[in-house]
Every structure is written in structure tokens, then in C-alpha cells.
Symmetry: C2
Subunit: 181 residues, 2 copies
């Protein structure tokens, strides 16, 4: 073994209650792709009484935390996602007072604001138009749109070096990011 | 009737072979939403042996041509979409030489270039990662991604007043457009 390497192979997985579920799906490479992420989140019972996440939604979840652009998610990233999703689900449930499993435009606005994103009525209307089903936002779409708002905001902020809400972007850079989620 | 108005009510629909199919689905307001667009495109046989378009894809098709932001499409817009889709379908079929119903990364690159969009290998890889199923791009996803590339490119160009491939964008303007498709 090289100097400083671990002669005993891969270190033992952390003693974590989420590890068993993750590693069963992840297999040998200890990483999961979008299809496997859907499986993990469904088998863990995360979506509960809501419809399971679509593959679309799982794909953009992977992009959100995929810092090394492999299209796969490792265990620490999965745990990070779990925390973020938990917070979003809690907000969804607290706003969905009639337990219809959906939010209206006003509730969506409150949710987005509570996550710290400042979107104008025009932007909220655009999101609503894109993601509504008969005027309502269902859980899977809510998670998809929140994931995209976060990914796109993170990207924009990384280019808005003066923190003025204004960024100068190149076409290809813009397309690479906007098309990735 | 006001001066210059038409005292005989709505003008008769144009004698167009596509009108009957459109108007049957559109109903009284002579406009279609995403669900109705899916119906129109399926009933007209457009998708043929490919899987019918998902509602996701139909939603972003409406955004592409929805100049007045109503979330609905009128007959002239439907005809315009039909022409664009026809061109994209033809390109897809000509590249899908083995008739597998899917494209690989190289073929996707050729398709995007043939539509006049200049995307770097990085941008193409981002699109591929977002839209592939087991390394392939299927017809519905191809139309969805091409629609988004066109919408986002149109938006970017409208802000790139000097045609230098660089645009200065405000956060809310960026979000309103990136989240609408």
C-alpha cells in the first residue's frame, strides 16, 4: 500500500441508521444515480402518503449537490439532501392546512420566501404557470421547483460577485447551468 | 358595433386542414392549454410510433410561443409550433439511423448544431446528464430539451443587446425566465 494509504481497504461505513438503506441500493461503487435515488427515497418512506418522486425530480436533486459533476450521489451528499428535503417537506405540510396534498399560489409564495428566496410576483407567476396542475402545486412538483430555484440561485449568486442582484453571464455558461436542472 | 369593428362577430376559421382537430379540443375560447396540447399532438398522430409527449414537455412547448404569457396557445401559435416540431422530428429521425428511437451524445450534438445553437462540449454534457435514460436521449426528452434550449437562447439573446454572447442579467429577470421552461 502507498505511504499514508489504508492497507485494510475501504474504511468501515459510518454507524448511521441511514447507511443500510443507502448501501443496499448503491452497490459496489457506494454512489447512487437518479433511478437509485428514487428507489432510496421511496423505500425509506420519505414521500409517505404523497406520490413517489418522478425520475425528473430525482435527476435535478442529484444536480443540486453534485459538486464534482459525476451525475451520482455519495452517502454524505445523500444525507445532506435528506436534511434539505426534510425541511422542505415540513414547510409544505405546515402550509397545506387542508391536507389536500397541494399548495395554491399564495402558499407557494410563502414557502419560497421562507426558504430565503426573494422572488417577485412575476417570477412566482412564472413558476406557478410552469408547475401547476389545475391551479395547484403538488408535492413532487413542489420539490422539483424548489430544487431548481435553489440550484439556479446558487449559480446566479456564484456569478454575482458584488452581491448586487446583477450578474454578467456568458451564453455557454448560462446554458450549461440553466439546462442542467 | 364600434366603427371599424366586425358587425358579424368572430371571423370564420381559416379553411385549414389542421383547424378541425384544433378547434374540437380548444372549445369555446379557441385556445389550448398544456393538457389539451398533449391531446392535440397525440390525436393528430404527430408522435407516431414514439411515446406520446408528457405534460411536462407540452407545458414548455406552450411557454416557447406564449408571447402574451397567458399559458394558452391559439391556432396561429399551434401552427407555428407544428412547423418547428416537424423540423425537429425530421432531424431526430434522420440522426436515429438504427431506428432505436433514441440518440447518443454525438448525435445530440449534431442535432443541436443543426438547429443553429452553438453549445460547448461542457454544455452538451450538462444537457446529456439531465436528459439521458441509460445514456440515450429519447424522442420526448429530445423535444423537451430542444424546446428549452430555444426558449433559453431566445431569452439570452434578447438581453445580449451587443450580440457578443454576454448579457448582464438581474436576478429576478433571470429566475422568471429560467424557471418558466
Amino acid at each position: 500500500a502507498p505511504m499514508g494509504g489504508n492497507p485494510y481497504g475501504t474504511p468501515a461505513p459510518p454507524a448511521d441508521p441511514m447507511w443500510a438503506g443507502f448501501s443496499a441500493v448503491a452497490g459496489a461503487d457506494q454512489k447512487i444515480d437518479a433511478v437509485e435515488l428514487c428507489k432510496c427515497l421511496t423505500q425509506s418512506g420519505f414521500t409517505g402518503s404523497y406520490k413517489p418522486f418522478t425520475q425528473e425530480t430525482c435527476k435535478i436533486m442529484i444536480v443540486l449537490l453534485d459538486r464534482n459533476k459525476t451525475g451520482k450521489m455519495d452517502f454524505p451528499e445523500y444525507k445532506e439532501l435528506w436534511v434539505v428535503l426534510g425541511k422542505w417537506k415540513q414547510t409544505f405540510e405546515s402550509l397545506d392546512k387542508d391536507r389536500s396534498g397541494s399548495l395554491d399560489e399564495q402558499e407557494l409564495k410563502s414557502a419560497v420566501a421562507s426558504f430565503g428566496f426573494t422572488l417577485s410576483p412575476t417570477a412566482i407567476a412564472a413558476v406557478m404557470q410552469r408547475y401547476n396542475t389545475n391551479g395547484k402545486i403538488y408535492f413532487d412538483d413542489f420539490i422539483a421547483l424548489t430544487t431548481r430555484i435553489r440550484s439556479l440561485s446558487n449559480y446566479f449568486m456564484s456569478r454575482d460577485t458584488n452581491r448586487q442582484g446583477i450578474a454578467t453571464l456568458g451564453y455557454d455558461d448560462f446554458m450549461s447551468h440553466a439546462m442542467s436542472c
